[in-house]
Symmetry: C2
Subunit: 166 residues, 2 copies
């Protein structure tokens, strides 16, 4: 049941993209390396974000990844759902319509009481994820820097030349 | 990411147990058949509920499964968590502490802003599931019967002799 580990990667990668200067892009392999991840599996996750219109992949020598939309236009929910193939947490298979005592399909008009609780919980989970945008995450990340990380990141970006288009 | 299909089975099976008369029990294979499920995989799910102290397995010729606790003492959350091995939806692997620009571990004192959002969403999901008990589900199931199902169930239980101890 746990969310894919790519959810943590994708959220952190999008936050990193949101922290880049306007117009900048970073190759997928560099973004993977920055997060201590192997490029291949990470790139597949990034492709899902590209397909969902959250991340943009710019081709060419100075190409790389960038956000495809303004950071306040991308919620945590958008990113999670893209990485989880838009699946709900709970899926009702209408088990109540199976077995020897089930009625004819036409008698099952509303979702069952169990499905209703599960769907309500799903909705609350999604509500919280929808409330926070990448712009909000950027704001709190800027407000709570971790000792030395910003400086190390700047140095690493210029050493590796990973930041392009700026 | 989706919850196991055993969540739907386990919730419906527990509701069926909650609908039985006081002191009654039903063999696991009959409970599986009632829900149109293959007994083997279903029984593994029931074993998780037994291990969690939600369902009780009574041995012997008139044995079978019954609730181990009063129905108002078992929440949907208890059942879901037992079936999902008590896992949270999101698991933070502290990806922020990996990669070439991470600081020393001592600088990471609070959960990151992304983990906080994900954990808050988890908490809201759990809150909804904790709010509804098996007694609540029984109440709404009784209030909204599906045409003919109760009668078919009574007939099936007496034909098969699945209901024991009453
Ligand atoms: S029939 Fe699917 S949860 Fe009840
Ligand atoms: S380090 Fe795990 S979510 Fe941020």
């Amino acid at each position: 049941m746990q969310l894919s580990e790519t959810v943590e990667w994708g959220l952190h990668a999008c936050l990193a993209l949101a922290m880049m200067p306007e117009g900048a892009r970073i190759p997928a392999h560099a973004l993977a390396e920055y997060h201590g991840l192997k490029p291949s599996y990470f790139s597949k996750a990034m492709q899902k974000l590209v397909a969902a219109g959250i991340v943009r992949s710019i081709e060419g020598r100075s190409g790389g990844l960038a956000l495809a939309r303004p950071a306040d236009d991308v919620s945590v929910l958008h990113i999670v759902m893209a990485l989880e193939d838009q699946k709900t947490l709970f899926r009702c298979t209408e088990i109540r319509q199976k077995g020897p005592c089930a009625a004819a399909p036409k008698h099952y008009t509303a979702p069952c009481n169990i499905a209703r609780v599960m769907h309500k919980a799903d909705a609350e989970w999604r509500r919280v994820l929808a409330e926070t945008s990448l712009a909000d995450l950027r704001k709190s990340a800027v407000a709570e820097p971790i000792f030395g990380v910003n400086e190390a990141t700047q140095a690493w970006l210029s050493e590796t030349g990973a930041l392009r288009g700026v």
